[in-house]
Assembly symmetry: C2
Homo-oligomer: 208 residues x 2
Amino acid sequence: MRISELSDATGVPVATLKYYLREGLLPSGRAVNARSADYDDVHVERVRLIRALVESAGLPLADVRKVTAALDDPPDTWHELLGHAQYALPATQPDTGAGSTAAARELVDSLGWRVGDEAPALRDLGSALAAAASAGLELPAEDLAAFAAAMHDVARVDLAGVPTGSPAAALRRVVLGTVLVDPLLLALRRLAQEDVSSRGAGRIAGGT
Amino acid sequence: MRISELSDATGVPVATLKYYLREGLLPSGRAVNARSADYDDVHVERVRLIRALVESAGLPLADVRKVTAALDDPPDTWHELLGHAQYALPATQPDTGAGSTAAARELVDSLGWRVGDEAPALRDLGSALAAAASAGLELPAEDLAAFAAAMHDVARVDLAGVPTGSPAAALRRVVLGTVLVDPLLLALRRLAQEDVSSRGAGRIAGGT
């Protein structure tokens, strides 16, 4: 297809597509003549991935480039490929410097999870544990284990939804499935709290 | 205890405590004489709740006042009381105006959850569903049901952790347990994804 058709297929303006080509985010099409090139479904999937990274995940172009570079020089396994997308995503927690990954590592090891030391979410988890401790919120080990089990259930659904045909489509699914489902999970958590509370809570006795 | 002791017990400066008194967030102490008043554990719990609302949840004072007002004129049941804290928390999702609570209501009803129509998380859930649809992220009903079941597991742990002695301490736990555990859950989700991916994913065959 021509670049105008690539624009139609993706909903991205031709000028933006040319910008992606110049920046090396989108591979060149097959040259047809001096003035035009031919694009295919690989380009369509790549553009959709770039849009997901820019629009939904809010990544700066430098981070988008890290993800597309993994497609240009793909690793051996799907696991490594998906990691390139997940590790590029924004942190879930502001890094206050108070957290340590040691506590996070300890928790992850106690769960028997296989997680690399360089996982950005280890730092996020460390910061979250430190913020809870600093505010005086007690989180017993059995509560943390229950939270982890629930999120492992979520992760199994997440991974089952990743298509295995096109690497670009797989990365796009990881990105969208992570950043767009995060707020959905948090909303469901609040609604579930209301449901649980409505079934269990009694009358208030005594003062405030 | 005197106001200086209330300050020591809570780590909040006397000037800030006096500000809370003037703003009506903190009830007056029992007058001892024209210049001083006596404070007790109810005041300690109230100050801790106010700090949690301001520091951890980042609420403006007007919203803090709505929560403390529920303590000054408590409802009949714990369920209603806890709702005053949860409903005051910041939205989990920017309101783009694109979402509708109808889709959220339908999902919650299909789960059999007891949730009031005025629950702010219904709007958050509607926005999240609309954002996913708009980005082309397909979320089959069985995936949504699995996410909901996982968050219901989380919510049961959340509610079990709420103390039933002091209403102020209960509200503080709801606030801290919700806003500080949110990022912890999202970090665990990413780490669980890595674990699941490491166990299931094979080699990449074919092009990008």
